[in-house]
């Protein structure tokens, strides 16, 4: 174990282990768990657990809340050394030579400014707006000042995708990729790219903390992850939250002027987001169960089939998938090919690839395809968009699948609902509002 391992980070040792580093005084030491009358409180994740849930038969206790980072028990001690920012001088950290659109440039300047002044910012960027590049100037400025930076995302695939891009953009900066599925040893680096859970391992480490898809935290309003954010950043530091669909809480913070906001409304190619078309039909589900599809939807699907454009049909629940696909297949009568797909589907990756390759023209899917997946020239149909399992954020994400490529910036988004519910109306409102902002900013 090296001294660097402790910089701005909790290292867990058993009470019986000895640390073999001279100069003990630089360490901050804490019991991993605080035991109270009926509960225990974890000093890593700050969660309180009732003793009955946390009890071990050898009269010790453990924290179940952050157990995926390695179990902490009453026999453990947390050690850390205050972040010293031991990084090399780099005169020109940014090795990327791309160009930003005007909208991107405006946001990029804002990020630099927020970074400089150690403030918080909500960066509201529509899907496909090219938000990574917006961060580059701010990151470069931070690296020059020896600042330590972290980019965290709730999703492992996002981290895996970001790492090589940042490695290419900042060739001389030390960086580490941290998530639960890897075995590499931890190393002290200036940039950390990690899943949000991993933030719990850090203590007052980061001068600049960036959180991607801040709306997609595994559990909404998860206090544990909020705690993780506030303890991983330094008391004086900047926080940048990226999202295409800010939560109600974040929007209200913006409205109350407690949080600065910058919009990146239009897409990189400058075209607007497609506005969803609502089809209200109260009996659609009953009809579908009888194998019938209403005229409006038949017409829409027919146009898609005739044009050869790919389409996704979203359903709210896994159990609907098969039944819906049977009805769709019966209607299509072999004019095109498709399949169903869901998150635990073993052939998920193959099916998505077949869709990309054009072997499939459509997929019937659950919300797993709402983020991250891109198909050129796509159309989207949401069956039962008023179902409570689609919140307005996921509806905006679903609509954001359409029109992402410069070649085909158009495309249909159709929401079929039994009645006009708030989630549907809100989603539509958000998209219209963003398009308007895009127009004004041009």
């Amino acid at each position: 174990m090296q001294k660097e391992d402790f910089f701005g980070r909790w290292v867990t040792l058993k009470k019986t282990d000895q640390i073999m580093i001279e100069d003990e005084t630089c360490f901050v030491k804490k019991d991993a768990l605080k035991v109270q009358k009926n509960t225990i409180i974890c000093n890593r994740c700050k969660q309180r657990t009732i003793k009955q849930r946390a009890f071990l038969p050898n009269q010790q206790y453990y924290c179940p809340a952050c157990i995926m980072l390695g179990r902490l028990t009453t026999q453990h001690i947390l050690y850390t050394i205050e972040e010293p920012n031991h990084f090399f001088d780099i005169s020109n950290p940014l090795t990327w030579e791309g160009e930003l659109s005007q909208n991107q440039l405006r946001c990029s300047k804002k990020v630099v400014q927020i970074q400089q002044n150690n403030k918080d910012l909500l960066l509201w960027a529509v899907t496909g707006a090219g938000k990574t590049e917006i961060l580059f100037a701010g990151l470069a400025a931070a690296f020059k000042q020896h600042k330590r930076v972290c980019i965290a995302s709730p999703r492992v695939d996002v981290c895996n995708e970001l790492y090589p891009r940042l490695k290419a953009a900042f060739a001389c900066t030390t960086m580490a990729l941290l998530h639960g599925y890897q075995t590499e040893k931890y190393e002290y680096t200036q940039l950390v790219i990690c899943t949000t859970h991993q933030l719990l391992r850090f203590k007052n480490a980061f001068d600049m903390l960036i959180i991607d898809e801040v709306d997609a935290f595994p559990f909404k309003g998860d206090t544990m992850l909020l705690n993780a954010v506030s303890s991983a950043r330094k008391p004086v530091s900047s926080l940048i939250m990226l999202t295409a669909t800010p939560t109600h809480f974040l929007r209200s913070q913006v409205r109350k002027k407690k949080l600065a906001v910058e919009y990146l409304p239009s897409r990189y190619h400058g075209y607007e987001l497609p506005v969803p078309k609502l089809i209200i039909r109260s009996k659609w589900l009953k009809e579908l169960q009888k194998g019938k599809i209403c005229n409006n939807i038949r017409k829409t699907i027919n146009t898609w089939i005739d044009s050869g454009a790919p389409f996704l049909i979203f359903v709210s629940r896994i159990d609907f998938l098969k039944d819906v696909n049977i009805v769709i297949e019966k209607f299509i009568k072999g004019r095109c090919v498709g399949e169903t797909v869901f998150s635990a589907d073993k052939e998920r990756i193959e099916k998505v690839q077949k869709m990309r390759d054009g072997d499939f023209q459509y997929l019937v899917t659950t919300t797993i395809l709402e983020r991250g997946v891109t198909f050129a020239g796509l159309n989207v149909l949401v069956l039962g968009a008023d179902d409570e399992l689609f919140n307005s954020a996921s509806l905006v994400q679903i609509a954001g699948r359409v029109g992402r490529s410069t070649q085909c910036p158009g495309g249909d988004v159709v929401f079929l609902c039994s009645r006009k519910k708030r989630n549907v109306v809100n989603a539509r409102k958000q998209i219209v509002a963003l398009n308007l902002k895009g127009k004004n900013k041009k």
Partner: protein
Amino acid sequence: MNYCLMCQGRINEYFDFAWVLSLQQPRKSFLCKNCHNNFMILINHPNCPGCGRRMNKKELCVDCKKWEKIYDDLLGNTALYEYNEAMKTYFERFKFMGDYYYFNIFNEELKAVIQKKYSKGWLYVPIPLSFQSFQIRMFNQVEALFSGLKLTDLLVVKSGEKIQQSKLNRRERLTMSQPFILNTHSGVKVEATNIVLLDDIYTTGRTLYHAAIIMKNAGAREIKSITLAR
């Protein structure tokens, strides 16, 4: 409100495991219906009378035919559930991450089955853990799963012997030399007793047959076994 330990979702209703006929009153459930259905029940299906593995009809599986040649008596293992994806996830959390509380999920069922099948005149003997593993995990997962029953510690792991089966391949597991010795401090006479060996997972049978031979040599009359998974 109860929350499901496997998916963190809410548990809406009580449901009883159909096979527990004797249990009348509803009890606290730790799984939602969906997650419960992900575990495949083995008993009440045709299975191998040697190890409890699922079969198309009741007959000895290939592995048990091999054991039959080495040992005169097969263990007649009772396995409650198939070792499938859900069970793998369960053991990851319970055994490897060390979330002790998860023993609750199967504890009642295991107790009910063993008390029905081996009620009187049987000693319940858990497979022990090496000292090193116990230092790390701080509990014996077998004793945890069967907690609430009177367990008799007749076996100990030889010192210096480390059995971390998960690090061995199938062949190594089968040829692994005897890891156990008889616990001479138990104060229990093994001679002419009936023994039920308890383990968490029946993988190759190697561990349980090692334990069985120790019991046999100590004079046990009949030796059976129960595991949570096969």
